[in-house]
Structure formats: structure tokens, C-alpha cells
Symmetry: D3
Subunit: 137 residues, 6 copies
């Protein structure tokens, strides 16, 4: 099984807040991650695609860049309705990036048979989450 | 000449905006860096200290960590009065970090003779600014 | 399947020696790794946990740090009874780190359902061992 | 399941060209990758071996170095008959490296039971291909 | 003194050959670096500019990218008349990159006062050359 | 001014201890760095040489490798008489590496005019010392 793999980075702001919690409880649970305006990260994303046609690599590279544009230089809490009631943790962000990558591949006829096998989202070089789809392939 | 060197990272949010410019002009000049809520980075800072007493390294390491706390997990535009009328570019941020490092060293008697010789602030691994004080030593 | 992943580093000393071999045979087999006092490495460890409860990430982060303390700034040959009769190769060290991580998770009620899926121990950035538990999940 | 993993780098030149295409079509399809003399990369390769005998790590390290020598400081298009009629894309290069690694292991009696489980070939740190053999293990 | 610093990478092929030497002498002197078609590298370049006007950073970033294009995806020996009689060592390449950067800055009116203070060209992450112009500033 | 720069790594063990201090005082001053057997690091060293003859790079590369051998896979406290009465801090280690590099260059006639301008010794990627000889050049 051969996969095509891409790594990209984007710069975004976020903060952690449960809206139905008090400020005190938010502070206790989330520490420095809870604040009014947020802080930011240079997120790093890795995605592995199972492809059946060799020519798909150029298409996948363009798709990767287009999904990067959706997130780059934005504030996750204020600019994404998905995070109006969900905390933008790395886990929730990974699920949203996965959704955006798969949506983008479905509207490209040339990528009809491509499958996103694995996705990593790094909060820092020391902490990240990984979504593995291999069992479904 | 021997220097003690430290590298640290902090996560912060920022945006570029000249308040006396129109939104259109800000957009033209600053592109994606201009926005209402901002985006974020994992800034990396390197500082080189000229020390005269070998025991100063532990003191300098603590000082470095205390200055990191000033910036980590904050929004540069909203949380620092220095950026109420100045754009938080990497150049301006570097000048502020230099000021905070030198202020912190002056209030520690054991660091009276330490001198900040060189400071680098990385916006990304590919673009950074460097302040060199060697000519003054 | 989503996993929470952590990378940490610790500094330790070790040497290779089979006690029932002659010095000459140890030298022939282990080369520079055989010596009386040892040498050292900044080991890097990556661990992947399968978690079922989102709140487990903070717990896992603390657990990771506590296991790091067990090994950091120690001499593997002299300070671990496990290496009194086993050579502290990267393979044997990986098995011991795996045991310590799993022991630490079992005594935390909040981590009862967490499972260590994958562990990497880097001897250098170019050589490492990986223990994969996915087939058991 | 424990695997022994090795990372190595080699410097090689290549260009993309379909010989039965016109220069114009090659230029349109391959862009800057199509040229008469080629350009070059410092390729990075990662290989994971499943081993049953602990002593195999030294053997595998030597084998890895010998396969590196086959590719290092060569021009892929001119020095490998495999690329006389195939474009030296990262995918095709990965298949050739896999073949060379497996051939090299088969002629070493001590590596009779070693199995190449996973191979990554990095064109750049941001784009790579991965060959996964785990399903066959 | 504040400098604006940029790091970029380009992929090129080269080989070492003194045309007035025999193949045997070239082989003895240059080892694997001597060959008919060459090999390649992902060169990394760092440049430090002394600027007097804050707005110059965007201009310098564009200039850096334009000089990168001169070298990227080319064969140094065949595509640069400067290397028709000079060996494309890292030293000679650094001198040519310096010349191209300074030529590009002189034709931009906005960069009339910018000065290239320091240039590093990395052959590998372990070996590089550095040109320092600080004494002239 | 052009310099030839080299980076190398070696693995060594060490501990911090002032022999004329009590165990308690050593523990208070040096924390985890004080112990009976020591711990270890993969030290990274960078050295910059000012050379006047282009052919010196190969010589300098060999010299660098020979000095690396002096330190690699050794215990600094037990194997170097220089550390019998001096604590092997990064500062003291840097001074010893500088001495060994300069001694090695003086016995090579081809390196008579080479000068060690700058030396960095990294204890970790975040903390290092730098010795700068430029003022003497």
C-alpha cells in the first residue's frame, strides 16, 4: 500500500472557554488557555492519502494548499461557526480539518478514489493528535 | 568572549492595523495580517548574554523563563499598552522583548554585570529579526 | 480512531556489557559502547495513547511527565535493577519505558480505559525502535 | 511487535521527462522538474524492519549504509537503467529503494527472518511517499 | 543594530571537476563529488540585511524569492557561465549568491540603503560557509 | 571575510560535583546534575574557521572528526584529567574543546593559517555557550 503524504503549517489564534461555565471554572479547568482574546499557534498538519492513480499527487498538493487557506491567519473561535459552541481543542480542530480535506476531495473528479488514511495535527512539536482511518480502508 | 545563550518559545496572537488608516488601506498594506480578531504564532526567541561570573547561568535561565511568562498565551494587540498605537511587527516585538529582558536583569543584583549582546525573534523559521549590541560592549 | 500523542526527552548515561563475557569479547561485540563508566544520550520518546474520554489529555500529559522523571539524569546501568543483568540497549530500554507508562496509567482511575498503542524510543535521530500494540486493541 | 528503524540521507540529481512526449508537453506537465540536465535533492529515507533476533540491529545498520551507497552522489536518470524508461518520481524511487533493501537483506543469512515493514521516501520535508507492508506481515 | 533575516532553500545539481585535470586526478581530489552528470542538494541559504526603513521587509522578502528562482531546479555546472571554469564548491556558490542578492537590491530604489551584512550557504546541515560583511558596515 | 563552518555531535556522560563540598551542598547547588554515576547528553558543537587557502576545507573536516573522537562515548568526569578538579559545565567543556581544536590545527602544516573564530557548545537545543574570537582576528 503506497500513500502520498503532505505536511503544511498555518497560523491561527484560539482560546478555550465553555460558555455555560463561570469565568472561575473556565480558569480552573483551562488555565492559561482561557482568556478573552486568545493566543496563537503555528499549527502543523500531516495528511496521508491512499491514491490509485499516480497523477493524483499534483491534485492532492493543490487540495492541501486550498484547505490550508481556510484556516491560515484566522481566529478559530470567532471565524468558524463550528467553534461557537465547541472548544477549539486540538482534537476538535483535527476533526474539522479532516472534514474540510474530505469535502475538498469529493468535489474534484480526479480525486474520486483518493482516501484520507491518516491525519496528524500538532499543537506543539511535543503534543499532537492523530486520526487513523486505516481500519476503514 | 564567552556568552550564555538561551532559546525559548511562546504562543501569542496578534494582527496588523494602523488605526488611522481605512480598512481598505490596512488590507492593501498588510494583507492576511490585517483582521479584526487576529491570528497567532509560536514565536521563538534567542538571547545571548555576556556574563562575568560563572554562577550567573542559573540566574539567567530563571530570568529567561520569567520574561517568557510575560508574553506566553496573550494577545499582543489587546494585552500590551505598547501595541495600542504601534503595529506588533516582529521588529517592534523584538524591541519590547529586549526592554523586558534588560529590565528584568537590572533588578537582580547577581546580574548587575550581565549584558544582553544579541537577540533574535523568529516570526517563522524562515523570517526573523536580530538585534545586535556587540558594538556597544 | 483518535490517539493523543506525546514526545518527551530525558538525559541518561549507559554502557553495554555482558557480565559473563571477557573485556575483550565485550569490546569486540559492543565497540565504543563498552566501557567502565559509560557515555550518555538525550533520549527522545514518543507515545501514542488511545483514549475514550476527551478530558484524559491533561491526565496523560501529567503521567508522561512523571515517567520522564523516573529516567531523567540517571545512569541506566547503576540505578535500575532491571539492567543489573540485561544490557540497556534501546530495545530493552523501550520495554522498560513501556512497563513504567502502563503501570502509571493503571493507578490513575481516570485513565482506566486509556491504552498505550505505540511507543518509539530514539537512540539518535537516525536509529530508533518502535513497539506497536495496535493488533491488540 | 517491535521494529528497528533507520533514517538515512543521500544526495542525488534527477529530472522528469517522458521520452515519447514533446518538450512542450513535458514542460506543461512537469514544470521546473523537466530540464535537460536536472536538479537535485538531499533525499531522506526511513525504513522499519521487523526482526526476530536482537543481534540483527548491527547487521541492519550495515545493510542500510550499503544501500545508501547505491544511490548517493549519482544522477538517477543517467546512472540507473530502471529510470531509462520510467520517470524518477518519488513513488518510483521508493519502489526501487524497497527492492534494493530487500535484495540486500536476502543475501545476508543473519537477516533471513527480517522483514521490511514500512518505507518512507521524503522528496522534501513537506512531501513524501510511504510504502506500508504491514498487511502482509 | 537591527537586521532582517531570511532563510530559503533551493534544489540544484552539481559536480566537481577541474577541466585541465585528468579524470584520475579529479577522482583522487574530489572523490564522489566528481562524476559526469552530477548529483544534487537542497541548499539552504540565510541572509541578513541591515535596513534603515521599516517598510523594507516586504521588499526584501520579494527580492529573496526572486534570487531563489535564479538557482532553483537548475544544474549549476551546465546552466551558469560562472561555473564553466570554476568548480561549484559551496564557497564559490556563496560568492555567486552574494553577487546576485546585491545586484537585485541595487535595481530596487526602495532598497538603496539596504546592506547585505551576512550570508550563510549550507551544503548540508553539518557543513556550511559564511560570508561576513560586518567589518565594512 | 569567509569562514568554513562545521557542526558535529558526540555522546558523553557527566555529573556536577565540587569535591570539597558536602553531598548536601552539592545537591542544593546542582540539583539533578549532582549524582554518583552521572547522566549523559548528545552534545552538539559548531565551529567556524577563518581560512586563507580554499583547499583547507577537507583538512578541517578531518580535523573536526578527529577531535570528535576524543570526546565521543566517554565519561567526562572519569576520563579527562582536566575535570578531576573542575566541574564539567558547558562553559568548561567549551574551553576544553576549543583547546583540543586549536592543538589539532597547530600540528597540521596545511592549517598553519587557519584560525578558530567561533565555537558553540549546545548542552540542549535551548541552552548553549558561545566563545567568540573575532575581536582577536
Amino acid at each position: 500500500m503506497m500513500t502520498s503524504c503532505f505536511r503544511f503549517s498555518f497560523s491561527a489564534a484560539h482560546f478555550y472557554q465553555q460558555k455555560n461555565w463561570s469565568a472561575e471554572k473556565n480558569k480552573n479547568e483551562f488555565g492559561k488557555c482561557f482568556s478573552q482574546y486568545g493566543h496563537g499557534h503555528d499549527y502543523v498538519v500531516e495528511c496521508h492519502w491512499l491514491t490509485t492513480v499516480p497523477q493524483q499527487q499534483t491534485e492532492l498538493n493543490q487540495l492541501t494548499k486550498s484547505v490550508r487557506e481556510i484556516f491560515d491567519h484566522h481566529h478559530l473561535n470567532f471565524m468558524f461557526h463550528e467553534f461557537s459552541d465547541k472548544v477549539p481543542t486540538t482534537e476538535n480542530l483535527a476533526l474539522l480539518i479532516k472534514q474540510k480535506l474530505e469535502e475538498a476531495s469529493k468535489i474534484k473528479p480526479q480525486l474520486a478514489t483518493a482516501k484520507l488514511l491518516n491525519l496528524k495535527v500538532y499543537e506543539t512539536p511535543e503534543i499532537w493528535v492523530e486520526i487513523d482511518n486505516q481500519s476503514l480502508s
